[in-house]
């Protein structure tokens, strides 16, 4: 091996240089990709005039907490935040429960038309949310679900559901049926084998589905835009646009709200990426 590397550097030195240059490439790429996020964070803590001057040293000398303070106390920000959290929690719970059950059913129960049903689930991706939301607006009005967080949860849960079912279906396939059968032979019921054997094995999948559902609900703009018209019921996504439309010149304040929306997202990926990757690993 050392012969290939060359006469002047030992294998260890060459590997070291290679590794360092690799890291430089990685971090330079990531830094470039993060420019919008970095600019958002800077904007959230800058004075307006300095920010609009585009003069970097002026921007850095104007660092202030004012934008955050103004946004927190002079807008419906807390209401939007609460609505978003309530809706996201509802969507996560429904998606995780429904996909886990459906995944289990699709793996363990043999029935006619199963293949057809599985395809239908994959086809679930095709329904265009905005275009569905037009008839949905009418149906929701008939059902009295317009301007209700419950109605919004039902609508938004449909977005991560196909992917969730798919993920859980694959996860349960990796749990050998033998494990469950041995529970039955020992006198346990199907419910026991599901609850105590299959479910714990599929837990990483459930976490991944939960994260996917959270990001989907946290991101959703279309359904609240169409189904919610009352300001007090708006989640962050439509709330922030409402705020930005009225105050679009105050870019530092708009960036301050954006910053508070990005923070939970960042914490989420940083601490849960391990499970996220586990989850997608099973689907891959």
């Amino acid at each position: 091996m050392t012969q290939i590397v060359g006469t002047y550097l030992s294998y260890g030195q060459a590997a070291r240089i290679k590794s360092i240059s690799y890291q430089i490439v990685v971090w330079a790429t990531l830094l470039t990709l993060m420019v919008p996020i970095i600019w958002l964070v800077i904007g959230a803590f800058s004075g307006l005039e300095a920010l609009l001057s585009g003069n970097i040293s002026r921007i850095f000398s104007s660092i202030t907490l004012d934008p955050i303070r103004q946004v927190f106390f002079a807008s419906n920000f807390f209401t939007y935040y609460r609505n978003s959290l309530v809706v996201a929690a509802g969507v996560v719970v429904f998606t995780v429960v429904a996909s886990t059950l459906a995944g289990y059913g699709l793996t363990r129960v043999q029935f006619r038309g199963k293949k057809w049903l599985a395809r239908l689930i994959l086809f679930g991706y095709m329904f265009p949310p905005l275009l569905l939301s037009l008839p949905m607006y009418q149906i929701w009005r008939e059902l009295g679900l317009l301007n209700s967080l419950f109605g919004l949860v039902i609508a938004e849960a449909s977005v991560p559901l196909p992917f969730g079912i798919w993920t859980m279906w694959l996860f349960f396939q990796t749990v050998p049926l033998d494990y469950e059968e041995s529970v039955w032979m020992a006198g346990g019921s199907r419910w026991h084998s599901f609850k105590d054997v299959a479910l714990p094995q599929a837990a990483p999948g459930m976490i991944a589905v939960g994260i996917f559902a959270f990001q989907s609900a946290w991101n959703n703009y279309t359904y609240p835009k169409v189904l919610i018209s009352e300001d007090a019921l708006r989640p962050l996504t439509t709330g922030i646009t409402q705020y930005a439309v009225q105050n679009y010149v105050f870019w530092n304040q708009v960036m301050a709200i954006a910053f508070t929306i990005v923070i939970p997202a960042f914490l989420m990926v940083y601490f849960l990426q391990k499970y996220l990757l586990e989850g997608y690993k099973a689907t891959a």
């Binding site: 585009g54 429904a98 363990r108 129960v109 329904f127 037009l134 798919w166 019921s189 419910w191 690993k281």
Partner: protein, 320 residues
């Protein structure tokens, strides 16, 4: 396998007998009841949120319905011909194709590249992966706003930087010019959604055993040969699946375009979803908008069937 089976049996406490079943336990015993319990919630939601609205839209598309007028007037299937031959629809459709395929192409290159880059173990790889995945978690609305701010002609950082470096000699309103608006939105959207490709690819990459690469190194393979013979065959199906899903999702994309340009300047970024929104909520022509939704659905269904035939991503699903 038998030792694993024994181990699982040992977990079963004595009190687990079929006579002490709970109500839920009873439901799980019967195959049909189990089926209903398992698939019921998902199918109920599917019906309420996908099938019913779609059926409603197909029905609505045959009528003249305005939000300002409660009377439904029958128009019939001839409307589809009218829409398909109208220049407004055709142009929006072409713009959808450009936006959909164009941005997915950028996303595949960017996404796979990024996955290959952060896949290795190195110092700070956890933080690097978290940063690489971050754009996907940031709402499109926020990205649209930051994009607007950064691309502004007067005080946008992009213009200031390009002027400073000397690439531009006067500021350009990237989102306000018919020539640049679509390309700009495609780049911004790809920045966010490439991460979905990164996620799927990264998960797949991490499941390739190291000894495959060690073996290839022993045989004297160079980096490109390793990529072509070891990596690519294992990630190509995942890339195909990602391409299918992303194409469907990019065709349906509404929020990021709406936030950044509202379909303008003129109609240069009005893709099909924006056209349907405009017709439904600004012109109050619900029947017309529903007909566009129905056409879009048919197109996406055909695209999926074609795709499933050609790429067979299902095979990939079964392997796992």
């Amino acid at each position: 396998m038998s030792s694993a089976t024994d181990y699982v049996s040992s977990l079963v406490p004595r009190r687990w007998t079929r006579t002490t079943n709970s109500y839920l336990g009873d439901l799980f015993e019967n195959e049909y009841a189990l089926l209903v319990v398992c698939l019921g919630p998902a199918l109920a939601l599917f019906f309420l949120v996908a099938i019913l609205p779609m059926a409603w839209a197909f029905n609505l598309s045959l009528y003249e319905v305005s939000t300002l007028n409660p009377v439904w007037t029958w128009v019939g299937p001839g409307r589809f011909v009218d829409i398909l031959t109208s220049s407004g629809f055709q142009n929006a459709f072409v713009r959808s194709l450009i936006f959909g395929f164009g941005s997915v192409a950028i996303q595949l290159v960017l996404g796979v590249g990024l996955a290959l880059l952060v896949n290795k173990d190195f110092r700070g790889d956890v933080l690097a992966r978290a940063l690489a995945l971050l754009p996907y978690m940031v709402p499109a609305v926020v990205i649209g706003m930051v994009g607007q701010f950064m691309l502004n002609a007067q005080y946008g950082i992009v213009n200031l930087a390009l002027l400073r470096v000397g690439i531009l000699d006067q500021p350009v309103a990237f989102l306000g010019l018919p020539e640049t608006a679509m390309a700009t939105i495609m780049v911004v959207a790809s920045w966010k959604f490439a991460v979905f490709v990164t996620l799927l690819t990264l998960a797949r990459l991490q499941s390739i055993p190291d000894h495959f690469y060690e073996g290839a190194t022993m045989c004297g393979a160079n980096a490109w040969q390793k990529f072509r013979d070891v990596t690519l065959p294992r990630i190509q199906n995942v890339i195909l699946i990602a391409a299918l899903l992303r194409t469907l999702w990019m065709f349906n994309k509404f929020d990021i375009i709406y936030i950044m340009t509202r379909g303008g300047p003129g109609q240069t970024t009005t893709t099909i979803p924006l056209l349907a929104y405009e017709i439904a909520f600004n012109q109050y022509e619900l029947g017309q908008a529903a007909a566009i939704a129905a056409l879009m659905f048919v197109f996406l269904a055909l695209w999926s069937v074609l795709y499933f035939r050609v790429a067979r991503p299902e095979e990939e699903v079964r392997v796992a």
